[in-house]
């Protein structure tokens, strides 16, 4: 290996690492707020990328049907509950978000021609289809068991992952897709050619991280999420709804996931089940951060990206083995640093 290859691999590793970092942030966020280990994160990556690819291919993305279906189910459940509890004032909100919004999205997809949109608008529309699935999934799968143990939530999480992977296959088929790069530009930096897409990924990741940091530091909703993460009961006593916090954290996770998918779709071919492994690598990063620290999680994720890039050079067949075995020493280190015998929930 010479310097040039090392730099090339480093560039690859950091690009992928930036994506893993975004995902690991979302995982830490969801876990801290809801105690859900968000295995389906990867499906949002795939859905984001494939929805965008569908627009570009002039097809109707299957995620539209999922949005409409999930919206109808949520609306049915919530309307029944609202009628039983006699809280009619909630009805417009329920109908608006779960029935009218998907209908508007369908109208946009069918009446306008997304395949002729500029890229930016296509991206916005793809996000508009995929992101609302986050809170809907929280409502359907997690809200009824929100007080269960972490382990029950984890099994629910795995079940949601399976269902979404199956739906992904149904909607997008087994073939993979790749979208055109955001920018064809490239620069020569010394010996290395840096592509525009790489810069886009890094820039967008950094921007998103900064926006998230501002959101958590400066906005009332961000503070509400932080309060819930620190102490659920305490936050509830202060009037912060845990349901709202759960839905909001899932909304953010879905946004980060789908956006990550859109960022990597020009770099790698995305299949309906690609997201899972990408999400798990974000996980390895998140676990390095102990599912608690955002900066350490992000640093861990970049490390995972680099490890992956270099191991694909030396032992490409064993790339996944190496990346996922990394988690074991990390877990051991964590187990040595957390000492006391704790009572499991």
């Amino acid at each position: 290996m010479d310097l040039q290859i090392a730099l090339l691999l480093g560039q690859d590793g950091i690009t992928n690492g930036a994506i893993y970092a975004l995902l690991s942030l979302a995982l830490v966020l969801v876990f801290a707020v809801t105690r859900v280990i968000f295995i389906p994160q990867g499906e949002f990556v795939a859905f984001g990328a494939l929805t965008l690819a569908s627009f570009q291919a002039g097809k109707t993305p299957g995620t539209l049907w999922l949005l409409i279906g999930a919206g109808v189910v949520v609306a049915l459940i919530d309307l029944t509950l609202a009628v039983r509890a006699g809280t009619a004032r909630k009805i417009p909100r329920i109908v608006g978000w779960n029935l009218l919004y998907p209908a508007a999205a369908a109208a946009a997809v069918f009446l306008l021609k997304p395949s002729e949109f500029p890229l930016l608008l296509q991206i916005v529309l793809a996000l508009a289809l995929v992101v609302p699935l986050g809170p809907m999934i929280y409502r359907l799968a997690f809200q009824p068991v929100a007080e269960a143990s972490v382990l029950v939530l984890l099994i629910v999480s795995v079940a949601v992952h399976l269902a979404l992977v199956g739906l992904g296959l149904l909607f997008f088929g087994a073939e993979g897709s790749r979208t055109p790069a955001f920018s064809e530009a490239s620069f020569d930096l010394g010996q290395v050619r840096v592509t525009g897409q790489t810069l886009w990924v890094m820039g967008a990741s950094l921007l998103l991280i900064v926006v998230l940091a501002l959101f958590f530091e400066r906005t009332i909703y961000g503070k509400a999420l932080r309060a819930t993460a620190m102490n659920r009961t305490g936050a509830r006593l202060m009037g912060i709804s845990t349901v709202m916090a759960g839905k909001l954290s899932f909304l953010l996770a879905a946004l980060i996931g789908a956006f990550s998918g859109i960022l990597i779709a020009p770099i790698t071919t995305v299949y309906y089940d690609t997201g899972f492994l990408i999400g798990l690598k974000g996980f390895v990063g998140a676990i390095v951060g102990g599912l608690a620290s955002y900066p350490i999680a992000a640093a861990g994720a970049v490390l995972v990206g680099l490890l992956e890039a270099f191991s694909s050079f030396w032992a490409s067949a064993f790339k996944e083995v190496i990346v996922f075995t990394l988690i074991i020493p990390v877990l051991v280190w964590r187990s040595l640093t957390t000492r006391h015998v704790e009572e499991d929930e």
């Binding site: 280990i37 359907l140 799968a141 009824p144 068991v145 269960a148 972490v150 382990l151 029950v152 984890l154 099994i155 629910v156 795995v158 079940a159 949601v160 992952h161 399976l162 269902a163 979404l164 992977v165 199956g166 739906l167 296959l169 149904l170 088929g173 087994a174 492994l277 798990l280 996980f283 390895v284 676990i287 599912l291 067949a317 064993f318 996944e320 083995v321 996922f324 075995t325 988690i327 074991i328 877990l331 051991v332 964590r334 187990s335 957390t338 015998v341 704790e342 009572e343 499991d344 929930e345």
Partner: protein, 595 residues
Amino acid sequence: MAARLLFGGFLCLVLLAPQVASEFHVTLLNYIGLYAIVALGLVLLTGVGGLTSFGQAAFVGLGAYTTAYLSTAENLPPWLAAFGGSPWMGLLAGLLLTAAVAFVLGLLTLRLSGHYLPLGTIAWGISLYFLFGNLEFLGGHTGMSGIPALSVFGVELRDGRIYYYAIWAVLLVAVWLTRNLLDSREGRAIRALKGGVVMAEAMGVDTARSKVVIFLVAALFASISGWLYAHLQRFVNPTPFGLAIGIEYLFMAVVGGAAHVWGALIGAGLITILKQWLQDWLPKLLGASGNFEVIFFGVMMIFVLQRARDGLWPILTRLMPLRQVQRAVPQGAALPKKSIPAAGLVLLEAKNVVKRFGGLVANNNMNLTVKAGEVMALIGPNGAGKSTMFNCISGVDSATEGEVLFCGQAVTGLNSRQIARLGMSRTFQHVRLLPTMTVLENVAIGGHLRGSKGVLPAMLHLERAEEARLLAEAARQVERVGLKDSMFELAGSLALGQQRTLEIARALCADPCLLLLDEPAAGLRYMEKQALADLLRKLRGEGMGILLVEHDMDFVMGLADRVVVMEFGEKIAEGLPDQVQRDPAVLEAYLGGVD
């Protein structure tokens, strides 16, 4: 009786099934049996022990690949040659390899609390899967074929109808072993893992060991299933050992009823049949090919966890007349007892104990002694640091500074298990019981250190003599504290006062020379308090030392020989009950100062 009939009927069905069922259904039953063996391990690991694993499929793969490699490889390296050529040697090698891998993974990951373990299992589940697919000598992603058929006494088991009996015999033996294990001293320790770790450690149970035990048993069951699979299919490739199947195994256990051995069979049956059926119909229905059954399974799991978290088996047993309530009080010879220290001998001596939590000093320079044959009461207002002192003495927590001597031996820094072994036993202020176990079983956990038979004798039920003596001892302690009428009820159904009394019986079952009671009279009625005081007087008469934390002053002053009063983590008075009651510092602590 009804249960026996039902089980007999089930056995007849199992025996007759391959004679009447079609080829297709026999194959289906074979797979149900194979999957149920793995799910059974998960029942023990996840349902009973509370340790979730998504990685069992990898252990199935270890068993399958080991025998596949050893029974087909042409030129084995010399050190492996002895294991080559025979499926039976393949089984042995597979079990050894699985045990070794599981032991290492267990040591690495089982110390982790809660959610790290399942995440770890996902990680090594994926790692091993990719390893199977990328190792040249294991055939890569295409797999290995030409695995010989299994032969028993010279008869080759090539026919699925005959192989069926091998699979189901293994399954039934595994069920028998698991049930035996759960119904034993080791089994009670395992059942305490879910929600009773602190209590079990205080009773002398090595919970880390119990975790490794169930992890190994579950891995070995999976490995045997893999071995049977390899010789049934006579071909292996990585697909059936991936994470997706590992998740499916866990779903089987959860859907069937993760805390019940028969739940594994129900779950494996249900999921296997549903999968078969959905794989036939869904692609036709949806007009595309693919594993769409996962959508259904995912939604079904979410529904099960929301609506029936304990799975199907408890629902089924409610419909069947299976409730067997044991009524016979266990009989058995008395267990050996420790020699009783002479009255007046100093049992416990705490010297200058300091305990800090961050900046908070919960105990400051605490000194106290307890002698054999006396009741020492530790009193003080709420938050004075009494329970913290208890935890420092019994090793549930460790003192920041100072020294604790028990029977002349320094126990500072020892854990609660080691201290329990020396003859100290305790109750907890907030009762720590296993609500789904009977009163008798809860008390028997206290006697854990008085038995010695390990996991293997328990699985084979070779420890029945010792078990009878343990249960008889537990029954005697239950009677002694006056809970005889509730002996076979679930501990969770008792009133709070009775649960406290149950904790005392459990502590007594350990045959201690020093008893630590944390607010034993709270929640008791007047008559019950009288009975408790009588019991404690009797124990004192037998030479036991008793350290008591209590708020009921009538109870304390009528019983204690000496009293230590704490406030804000420090000792403010010590002496005879009468002296302490007149002590101005004590009066001020309890009643406020007089201006």
